[in-house]
């Protein structure tokens, strides 16, 4: 499997570290109810099909990437830089 990093181009899967689902970007406020934090930390949609998740280009540019891909076919649909997303982590 290869991911096409927007900065580095197509790179082997070994260069990337997988974190998990996109919702890591939607962190609840510090004062949010514990149920919101529980849901954020522990529960996942875990879809069979299209998913969006976070990958870190560890052996490349060091950027966080938001990858749109298919969990059944392993097709990679889109790779975006998290830093340039609206409201994304800087």
């Amino acid at each position: 499997m290869r991911l096409t990093c927007p900065l580095c181009g197509p790179r082997d899967r070994r260069e990337f570290h997988y974190l998990g689902a996109e919702e890591y970007l939607r962190r609840p406020a510090a004062e949010a109810a514990s149920a919101a934090w529980d849901d954020y930390l522990h529960n996942r949609d875990n879809p069979a099909g299209e998913t969006r998740d976070l990958w870190y280009h560890e052996a490349g540019c060091g950027q966080w990437l938001l990858v749109t891909r298919d969990t059944v076919s392993h097709d990679i649909r889109k790779v975006e830089l998290v830093a340039t997303l609206k409201g994304g982590a800087k």
Binding site: M1, R13, R14, Y18, G20, A21, S34, A35, D38, D39, L41, H42, N43, R44, D45, N46, P47, A48, T51, D53, W55, T71, V72, S73, H74
Partner: protein, 420 residues
Amino acid sequence: MFGSGHYSGFRVIKEALTGHKGWRPAWRDPEPQKSYDFIIIGGGGHGLATAYYLAKQFNQSRIAVLEKGYLGGGNVGRNTTIIRSNYLLDGNEPFYEFSLKLWEGLEQDFNFNAMVSQRGILNLYHTDAQRDAYTRRGNAMILHGADADLLDRDQVRAMYPFLNFDNARFPIKGGLAQRRGGTVRHDAVAWGYARGADQRGVDLIQNCEVTGIRTENGRVTGVDTSRGFIGAKKVGVAVAGNSSRVMAHVGMRLPIESHVLQAFVSEGLKPLIDGVITYGAGHFYVSQSDKGGLVFGGDIDGYNSYAQRGNMPVVEDVAEGGMSLMPMIGRARLLRSWGGIMDMSMDGSPIIDRTDIDGLYFNGGWCYGGFKATPASGWCFAHLLATDKPHETATAYRFDRFRKGLMIDEKGQGAQPNLH
């Protein structure tokens, strides 16, 4: 008694003398009834074991198992067949020891040859710190009634002289042995439970995919399937690998990600490894099947996936682990490899619990340890379904342990499924 009758040596001789005309299919192929008291979703090891113990141990009836494909076609037919109870934590060890005890009596209990072979499992250690950790683990096992034996280097060498003892970085210093551990003929486990359940009146319904779960006023009323609606008073879900997909029918999100785990078999070799060996300096474990193939595997692929096939980096990682542990493995050719889909939970431990919907129960999150758990998982899930109380060895396997911070995290990794 329905169907296939009692299997025995005497029966084999009798059938041989009468032209093998008395054998019958091992289970029926019934049409689904309109409703049942219990529906188990998932005709794998855990689902079939649940139905078997519900009928046999808890004297329940009007039970059906619904399977979207064929019986035993999922992870119970795709694993590396190891049984053991070498866990550290209080939430886990009593459960897995209960499971190992059930394995020991299983074949007599369900009257089927599952080739339960207590050939022993050996976890190697390579540093003083690792030895200390295994000492602690071994003591935890003994305290819970399991067997454990800390071996030194010479004792390991006497068992497996071909291992790479003098690897410059990871010399083998010894190992933690559990001699009651071993391997089991995995498909026969599904077949044995299926036949045992069928003989006790359980309807095993194959090619019947659940497409919805119906509820009314917070209570389950039945399931929609590819073969129509089937009513039920209680529904138990045992579909590890696909748990999130099935529970999405009732809008439940789970503390689970699905990940691929690969396994490998070499060409058939003469007898070489008589037990199970795990490497302590890399993720690699190996045993030898009765047909002679080396059966081995390693880590999960590391990212959320439902594809039943893996990627090259883990193939290489497993091969490197094997070469580092026993260099002679490089002479064997790989015959085949495959992948199975694991329910990777947030703490690496399973869930057997009620849900917020009355009559809907969940069994899943088995990570890559589901096979060895099959008997106890079935027993404890049947206990929960029949009595509405968790079995005494499964009291920690609750949904709310994440919210309460009561994780059962054997590896101490935190809430990160791909690291367990």
